[in-house]
Structure formats: structure tokens, C-alpha cells
Symmetry: C2
Subunit: 401 residues, 2 copies
């Protein structure tokens, strides 16, 4: 337990966030902005008094008149869970920062908020069941996601990936569902590694119920995490909200198996938009459960990386981890791929009148043979052109240097 | 038979090229350049007289004193084959043009010629067995290649791809080997579509011998093609030379199955360097025979396209076919991905002193809310920056417009 760190937080603030986590459905941009501006305590007080801005007040609706927060905290404690809040040292602030960035890009006017607006927002608080500190477990973590209707192949690969990640000290995060999720959690457990279930319902109610034993094993060395207070049901719309938390908490998401046109693409694109690495496992082209992965991998614009084992997953997330900022890559030009000699020859080419290769060699400071060797490539790249009497820069090439 | 078109060619030229195809091992840059300069007839005469430039003469060596050309042409005729030469109307000049371009990029000095130099050169002539015109068959063709030690999965996919291509009027080209090659040829035959075997030995000797019946079926509606005269053996080095012809004759190459670090990568990269589409079929990550394909697909720099069916293959080669020239893509900048409004706001940003969003809205001609909506994205893309008092262009963004 990390109660020591959590103990520094004003109990009233924790209680306020507990109340907010039930009063307003998680995933609301307007509530998050209101709490950021007013503080959790003042925001909760205003909502309970009915004095919050109308748009925010409407989010709570009738729930503003109810207060189950003390009972929720007691229920949590009874099942070995705790509520962690952004004010806690255990709060996974670094991975969740991507959501703060994402929400900053959302418009203020309700009419302009898309469905995405309801989702790409940091959590108000996290109900965490299990003894390990959340921030440490997700510090080096990867999400393994995929279809519930998985094949033996997909389950095998998910298990192998999770075990391989666990052996390398990485945590596997998934949703605790049937199929790929369960295989991933089991693979981590088999490797003696901790694993995290991010649930779309209260941490006291295993969903699906058939996974009660699995969740009990997860809790021995891992965590079950949720934005919803104990007792909350896994309502359908909560899975979309939950999925963005899986993407946000981890360094990258691996889609292991997914049907064509399934939610896997949306999950992957959301992870990518949060600056997280997105990976997919290929499979037999004859398997319907690999079609979603292949669709992702064919969409080269999106940059999904094909991975076949845990080492390749860590290659991908390791590289991104070194540079958490989302920066557009420097555009590569035809010039970038040139050899040193080719660049020197290109720089030697005049803009207007063509000159013979001998002249280019003299200017570039290389052998005439080198010039003759690189000119065809430069011409193919539309960087130089033959005027009939000599070589010059192609009009499209721009100035050298 | 297309003897009518071929009949226009001077028989002495055809005989000279027949002689050259045996006198000098196919794949020599120096011979090709000599023949280009002198013409086939004069080149052959010079080589037989021992008066060719020493480097070229050395290529023929003792073979310069032998002449089996009349016998080769007779042997070809006996097995239903013919020799087609660049002077023939049936010569597949358009697909093979990529080799003329490639050889132009090779250095003149022997010492500077790499192993590649021995390979990326147009054929001197092609021995063709079968009745269909070669140029028409390869006009819309795809190469399916892969391991001889294929799995049932790989053979199934190769067969399905070839059949799917055949049903759409495309020819499958392969090497006639065991494994993926044979499955590809058989898939085309099963769809009633023509298929082309490009051999690394004489067209009169089926290699492997176990494929005699397969080749006989291929010849009913397809072709067996070779650069080597009848009777020539499938020597090891000839396969590399042959492979470049498979890549050159077709619009694209699909690697169906390949072991890790196999020749598949080299084959694929050669096809790409010739401006042809390169594709790979994914498979189970647990299959050693798919590892080569996955390596290709992970090498994003090279741009191998993942394909799972014939339609996706044609998507890829169709797109390239519309623009045969090898042009570097226009470099994409962060700006390119911006919305119209974002671009207008970016253009409204001053270089030095920061201005408030209201001012940007006035200049850009849009709503202040629109400005507020796009600024975070512009900032994330390092295009604008907050000075503390207002927004201005980021120093790295360059001038707008």
C-alpha cells in the first residue's frame, strides 16, 4: 500500500473527487476544465449547491443531490481498494499528461465538441484495487488488446508477448475481457510478472464474472483500476471511455487480433493521437481475426508497426520513450538520401547554363568518374538535368545547400 | 506464334544475338554497352574475330571461338521455342526499360562495378517456349515468389493469389521452383489463366525435373522464358541473374513466404530499385517461413506493402502503373496536414511580436473560437509559440505561404 504518500492529501479533497467520480460520468471535458479552474473541493461544493455553471451542473443532473462518497470509500476499503487522486504521489501523472495535452486541443463551445471530446480527458480520480503502486506499475507498461472472439493463435501470441514483456520487467495492461485480454493477463501471470486490468465498472465487481478467479490472481501482484466507484455496472458506453485510459496509461498499444472494421482501428488511432506507439501482430491472411490487424498495417499513413515478439514491442516503445514530446518528423527530401559525393556534385551544378562533368568534378573536388557515377541518380531524382551541352540544377530542385 | 512480327528482323541479327546469349554469360554490363554501341551483328563479329575491346573480349573467353547458334536455334524450334530479340515487336520493351535505366547508373570502370553491376542489365535476347506473345502476357503481370521450403499455408495463399490475379486478367510470373513458385503457377492454371516460368536454364530442360508435368501444363497457355540457350544447366549463379528478370518483367513482386534473412529481402529490394511495387504476405508470427515477410514489412523505409489478397495486389501495382516514372514523393511538411482554418491562422501569425487570438481571428478572417481551437495543434506542431503576451510564428516554422 502507498497510503503513506496518499496520506498527505487533504481527506476532504479525496472525498470531493470520490463524490465527483460518481456524480458526473467520467470523460467530460467541461467538468475537467471546471475542476481545473476551481479545484476539486470548490467544484464539488458548487455542484452540490447547484451553483456550478449551467453546462457543468447539467452533467451531474439529479446525481448532484446524492452523496455516496463515504460509502464508496468504505466499500473500496472493504475490497482492498483505494482512491488515488491527481494530488497523490502515486498518480501516474507522466503517462496521463497526454490526455491533458489532448483536452487542451478541444474547443470550449459544446456545439463544437465531437464524440471524441467526451473521451480524451484525464480521469478525475482512479479507484485502484491491489497493493502495488499504480505509477510504478505503469511506468514501463504496454497495452495488449484484441478481440474477445479470439483464435487459439491470437491467444497464444498474446500470452507469449505478455510473458516476454514481463520477463523484461514490463507490465502488461489490458481490459480483463474474454479472448485476447485474458490471454495477455494470463501470459504475464505465467511469467510471474504483474499485470493491470483497467475495468469499465467498479473494481469490486469482476467483469466478466467468469474471470473472478483470474482477477483474484491478478490482484496477488497486480492491480484492477477503474474510473467508476465500487458497484458501478459495465455500461456499454463506459468501454470507450475506459479504452482511452488503457491507451493513455501505457507507452504503447499492441493489437493482437481484431476483426475487419472492428473497434481496433479506433483504439489504435486514439493511442496514436495521444502520442503513444501503435503496433499490430500479423497473422494468417486466411484468419478473419487477423483482418483488423492487417488493415492497420496496410494504413501506412498511420504508422502502425508490425511486431512479432516482445523484443520488437520494446524496440518500438523504447524508441518513443526517449522522446515523449509529439514532434512532427523533419520532412525528408530527395537530397537527404544522397551520398556525400552526390551532394557535392549537386552543389556544384549551376542554376542556368549546363556545364560538363569535368567542370563539376573540379568544383565538387572529386573524380570525374564519381561525377559520372552519381549523375544518373541525381537525374532520376529530378535534381539535375541535361541541357544538351551540360548539366545544371533541375528547376524543381531549389538552391543547393 | 508471333513469327510474323519476328520475321521482320534480319535473321543475321537474330543469329548474332543467339550466339551472344551463349558466348557471354547473361548479366554483363560491359557486353550490353558494347552491343548498344556497335549493334549486335558487329559486336558478335568483333568478338569472334577477337577484335573486341579487351574487357569485353575477356567476357567471352574461349567461347568466342565456338559457334552453336544454328544448332541452338534448331534445338529451340524442335521444342516449340523461339528466340526473341530487342528488335522484335514481341520484345517486352516497356517492362524491361527499368533495366536500361538501372544500367545507366552503373559506373564504367570495372573496378567500381559491384556485384549488382553483373545483374541489373537488360537481357541480350530471350528464349521463349510456348505460343503466347511474351509482351502481351507480361503487360499485366505480377511476380509471386517465395521459399521452396514453403508451408501448406504459404502454398494455399500463393495459389489463391495467382488464381485471383488470373481471374482479373493478370499473369502470374514465377521461377518454376518447388514450394511457393509451383503453388503460384498451379493457382493460375486452376483459374484457367496463363502463367510464365522464368527459368535459370535452357527452356528445353524442365528444372526441377519433377516439374516436367507442371511445365507441360504451363506451356498449354503460358510460357517458359530463359536468357540461356537450350541445353544450358541451372548453375547456381544463374538464379540471381534470373531473379532480376522476374522482377523486371512484372509490375510488382509479392513475397509469399520467406525465411528470416533469406534471399527474399534482396529480391524485394532489387524489385524496388527497379521502380517496381514490392509486397509481402503476412503469416503467423509462429511460422519461420513468414519471418522473411515480416522483416520486409517491418522495414518501413523500404515501403513494402502488406497484401492479403489479389485485389490488394492490384491496388498496389495499379497505382504504380499509372505513373511509371520513378519520382521522389513531394516532401510532406507539418503544414500540409493542417486544416484550411489552421493554415489561415498560421499565416496570420506575425514573425516577432506576439498578438492575441482576437487579432489572429481578424487577420485570418475567422471566429475567435476557431483560432482557439487550432492554436494547440499549431503549437504542438512547433509552428507557433506563445510569447507570454501573444502568439507568433515559431522560429523553426519559416515564413508562411
Amino acid at each position: 500500500m502507498t497510503g503513506g504518500v496518499g496520506g498527505e492529501v487533504d481527506p476532504a479533497v479525496r472525498r470531493a473527487r470520490a463524490w465527483l467520480s460518481r456524480a458526473v460520468e467520467p470523460g467530460s471535458v467541461d467538468l475537467w476544465r471546471f475542476v481545473e479552474r476551481e479545484g476539486a473541493l470548490a467544484a464539488a461544493t458548487a455542484l452540490r449547491a447547484g451553483t456550478a455553471p449551467p453546462r457543468v451542473q447539467a452533467l451531474a443532473g439529479v446525481r448532484a443531490g446524492e452523496d455516496a462518497s463515504a460509502e464508496d470509500l468504505r466499500r473500496a476499503e472493504r475490497c482492498g481498494a483505494r482512491l488515488i487522486v491527481p494530488e497523490d504521489g502515486e498518480w501516474p501523472a507522466l503517462p496521463l499528461h497526454c490526455l491533458t495535452v489532448a483536452v487542451a486541443g478541444e474547443p470550449a463551445a459544446t456545439g463544437r465538441q465531437t464524440e471524441r471530446t467526451q473521451v480524451l480527458v484525464p480521469p478525475m480520480a482512479l479507484w485502484v484495487r491491489g497493493d502495488r503502486p499504480l505509477d510504478q506499475l505503469v511506468d514501463r507498461s504496454v497495452a495488449l488488446v484484441g478481440s474477445r472472439a479470439s483464435t487459439a493463435y491470437g491467444e497464444h501470441v498474446a500470452g507469449e508477448l505478455a510473458a516476454g514483456l514481463g520477463e523484461r520487467g514490463w507490465t502488461t495492461v489490458s481490459g480483463g475481457a474474454f479472448g485476447i485480454d485474458a490471454a495477455a493477463h494470463r501470459g504475464a501471470l505465467a511469467a510471474g510478472a504483474p499485470t493491470v486490468v483497467v475495468a469499465a465498472c467498479g473494481v469490486d465487481r469482476p467483469y466478466p464474472a467468469a474471470h473472478s478467479a483470474l482477477f483474484a490472481r491478478v490482484l496477488e501482484d497486480g492491480l484492477v483500476v477503474s474510473e467508476w466507484p465500487p458497484g458501478c455496472a459495465p455500461l456499454r458506453h463506459r468501454f470507450l471511455v475506459r479504452n482511452r485510459l488503457i491507451a493513455a496509461l501505457t507507452q504503447g498499444t499492441v493489437v493482437v487480433e481484431a476483426a475487419a472494421r472492428s473497434g481496433a482501428q479506433a483504439t489504435a488511432h486514439r493511442a496514436a493521437s495521444l502520442g503513444k506507439a501503435v503496433m499490430a501482430v500479423p497473422g494468417p491472411v486466411t484468419s478473419a481475426m487477423s483482418m483488423g490487424c492487417h488493415e492497420l498495417l496496410r494504413d501506412v499513413e498511420r504508422g502502425t508497426t508490425l511486431v512479432t515478439n516482445a523484443a520488437q514491442v520494446l524496440d518500438r516503445v523504447g524508441a518513443l520513450g526517449e522522446d515523449l514530446a509529439v514532434r512532427p518528423a523533419r520532412p525528408e527530401t530527395a537530397r537527404d538520401s544522397l551520398s556525400d559525393v552526390a551532394r557535392r556534385v549537386l552543389d556544384a551544378c549551376p542554376v542556368r547554363a549546363g556545364v560538363p562533368p569535368e567542370r563539376l568534378a573540379a568544383v565538387a573536388g572529386c573524380d570525374v568518374l564519381d561525377v559520372l557515377r552519381v549523375l544518373p541518380a541525381l537525374e532520376l531524382a529530378d535534381l539535375v538535368q541535361w541541357t544538351g551541352t551540360g548539366w545544371r540544377l533541375a528547376p524543381t530542385a531549389g538552391a543547393p545547400g
